[in-house]
């Protein structure tokens, strides 16, 4: 397969990606306007209730909400293509700016959760696979299944109840104390939300690693590797883990949006000022422009991470790159 062909393949994928994001955005645009509720509330707050019909009409006109949906859509799309995503009704600021001001917090929370989840799950997965069916493996499996059943919001509540209210060890809300505070303060505010994020996802991935490794351990080539005289550790790490790693990495790539998106609930419970609370508010109060931009963002993250996963798989796994060049045998 030549470089040209490869470029062609990726170009095609990029095109479908753009198309998918476009479809997604269109669908969300139309569906969100079907929802009952009054976007004016987001902009004018309580004043809306005291408005006369004329004032309402004027206000709607000012926000461009009187035109047919398709006209609104075309206008939005035209502006969006120029990088103008409109203003957030609630914050009365550029939607992009609102998001930019919150994105950092979510990235810190999600990023910390992501790194911890994946390093811990790799560790746990290898540990379980090593002691397959032993007491440690069984206990961990049971514990993990139990932990993955607890709904995130409830776990957050219990954590707050235990660590903030009863023990008073850690703060229960926000990203930092009012009036700033140093790194320690930030970390203290992060501790509970991050542990909920990790607890919610950890076992799913650890179990995946465990099963993937065991699949490799049962493969025939392990017998040959053992009969060479390799130790169990060498077989496990040099052969099994190495073969399981590409699929684990691509799984990591796919789950970027899952873990980032999973912060949604946690952010709301802990009143953590991130994109999660933002998207919760924007759906609740029909803050259309903000909602659209958030959807665009999350759609892009999902699709890009999907592509990254495919890329990782193809580059790291010689079996797959061989399939591309199938038919070429025996030089």
């Amino acid at each position: 397969m030549s470089i040209w062909n490869m470029a062609l393949g990726w170009g095609k994928r990029l095109l479908t990606l753009l198309l998918s994001v476009f479809l997604l955005v269109t669908a969300v645009f139309y569906v969100s306007r079907l929802a009952p509720g009054d976007p004016l509330v987001a902009y004018y707050g309580d004043r809306v209730e005291r408005m006369t019909p004329d004032e309402r009409a004027w206000a709607k006109d000012r926000l461009g909400l009187n035109d047919p949906i398709t006209v609104q859509y075309v206008r939005w799309l035209g502006r969006a293509l120029h990088g103008d995503f409109g203003i957030s009704y609630q914050y009365k600021m550029d939607a992009a700016e609102v998001i930019a001001s919150r994105a950092g917090n979510t990235l810190i929370l999600g990023g910390a959760g992501f790194v911890l989840t994946f390093s811990l799950s790799l560790l746990l997965g290898v540990l379980c696979a090593w002691h397959e069916d032993g007491p440690l493996d069984r206990v961990l499996c049971k514990l993990g299944t139990a932990a993955s059943c607890v709904p995130e919001f409830w776990l957050s509540l219990v954590f707050i109840l235990v660590f903030s209210i009863t023990l008073r060890w850690l703060p229960s809300s926000g990203a930092y104390s009012i009036g700033g505070g140093g790194l320690g303060d930030r970390l203290a505010h992060l501790a509970l939300p991050v542990s909920v994020v990790v607890a919610g996802h950890l076992w799913y991935y650890a179990y995946m690693v465990r099963n993937r490794l065991l699949e490799e351990v049962r493969a025939d080539y392990v017998l040959l590797a053992k009969s060479k005289g390799l130790t169990k550790g060498r077989v496990m790490f040099r052969h099994c883990l190495r073969n399981a790693l590409p699929s684990y990495l691509s799984l990591m790539a796919i789950s970027v949006p899952h873990i980032l998106g999973g912060t949604y609930i946690v952010e709301t419970v802990f009143s953590y000022p991130g994109l999660g609370t933002l998207s919760y508010e924007s759906t609740r109060y029909q803050d259309y422009n903000l909602l659209m931009l958030l959807c665009l963002l999350s759609g892009t993250v999902v699709m890009v991470s999907g592509m990254a996963a495919q890329f990782i798989n193809q580059r790291l796994d010689p079996r797959l790159s061989a399939r591309d060049a199938a038919g070429v045998r025996e030089p």
């Binding site: 069916d133 493969a219 025939d220 080539y221 017998l223 040959l224 590797a225 053992k226 009969s227 060479k228 005289g229 390799l230 130790t231 169990k232 040099r238 052969h239 190495r242 073969n243 796994d317 010689p318 079996r319 061989a322 070429v328 045998r329 025996e330 030089p331």
Partner: protein, 338 residues
């Protein structure tokens, strides 16, 4: 000549959720340095389990129930994993049935062979390692080894992969090579090449070989001695000549008669009636009795012991008991020399 490998009354069982599967039942045999012993039998007779249990490559559900395994006089029956990996590769190594799955698909051939060399000689320099890998690849008849070192298994055909597996098995200069149906998954023409290769290598290096197969033709080509297995037991063991030209066990007669080459011009092929028994509940007495037209009443009661025919030839059938009636083996039951 001292015995290189001695297996005494070995029994191996698998403990599954359907019960205990007695895969190997009271097997004894020995192997001298440099000789080729063929283990013949139908699938499920325990021949492959026997090899893997000697190398301790069986899954955790399998247990050695009784008996002992001696290598160079040392008892390795109760060796743990950490003792075993020092023996594997150097004392004995194995070639597996399916070359398509027995190589790591994500590692280049050169790397896999190199790893096998390095295990036993960790202080080898890079150049020396490379030279040794090339030497091994040339030994097993892989042309242009320099080019092919960096290739992955999927670039290779079945025959080539089996050569690579053989190179890996030979990397540590093992004293014993277990070859578990190494040619079954290959085409006949490739099988012939691999068999010749095995024989050449065996002559060159003097590696004692245990060759597992179900094909008597292959046995005739490679084996010095033959052990016939049925339902987890060795029922007859002897030199190749003795087994082919003077078989004593009715099962061996049946196997030889069932060869289509020997039914030329006949209307029907000879077929051993019935099916092999399950090893969950092996029948009482001789497991082969219910398929054996020469069965004696005692076969259904009591397991036959090994009767000695010559110094090298033993068979487990009551027909060899002095009290048994005289039975003429069926024509085709032994191939007449000449």
């Amino acid at each position: 000549m001292p015995e290189l490998l001695e297996v005494k009354h070995l029994s191996v069982s698998f403990f599954t959720h359907t019960g205990e599967v007695q895969a190997v039942r009271d097997v004894s045999f020995s192997l001298k340095a440099g000789e080729v012993l063929a283990l013949v039998g139908e699938s499920g007779c325990g021949k492959s389990v026997l090899c893997k249990s000697i190398m301790k490559l069986l899954p955790q559900t399998a247990k050695i129930k009784s008996g002992s395994i001696l290598v160079n006089g040392a008892d390795i029956t109760h060796y743990r994993e950490r003792d075993m990996h020092k023996l594997r590769g150097r004392l004995f190594s194995m070639v597996f049935q399916d070359p398509m799955t027995s190589l790591n698909p994500a590692m280049s051939i050169g790397e896999q062979i190199g790893e096998a060399v390095r295990v036993h000689r960790p202080r080898l320099s890079r150049e020396a390692l490379r030279a040794r890998v090339l030497e091994l690849m040339a030994l097993v008849g892989i042309d242009r080894p320099e080019e092919r070192m960096g290739l992955y298994p999927h670039h290779f055909s079945g025959g080539m992969r089996q050569r690579a597996v053989l190179a890996i098995a030979l990397a540590g200069d093992p004293a014993i090579l277990f070859a578990d149906e190494p040619t079954t998954a290959l085409d006949v023409t490739i099988q012939a090449q691999i068999l010749d290769l095995l024989r050449d290598v065996q002559h060159k290096l003097g590696t004692a070989t245990v060759f597992v197969t179900h094909d008597l033709g292959v046995v005739a080509r490679v084996a010095d001695r033959v052990a016939v297995m049925y339902a987890g037991k060795i029922v007859e063991i002897g030199t190749a000549e003795e087994i082919f030209y003077d078989p004593r066990h009715p099962y061996t007669w049946g196997l030889l008669r069932a060869l289509p080459a020997l039914s030329k011009g006949r209307d029907t092929l000879y077929a051993i009636p019935g099916m092999p028994p399950t090893l969950v509940n092996p029948p009482r007495g001789d497991a082969f009795a219910c398929r054996n037209e020469y069965a004696l009443a005692i076969d259904y009661q009591e397991e036959p012991p090994m009767f000695q025919v010559t110094d090298t030839h033993y068979a487990a059938t009551w027909l060899l008991d002095p009290r048994a009636p005289e039975v003429t083996p069926p024509s085709g039951g032994g191939i007449h020399a000449g």
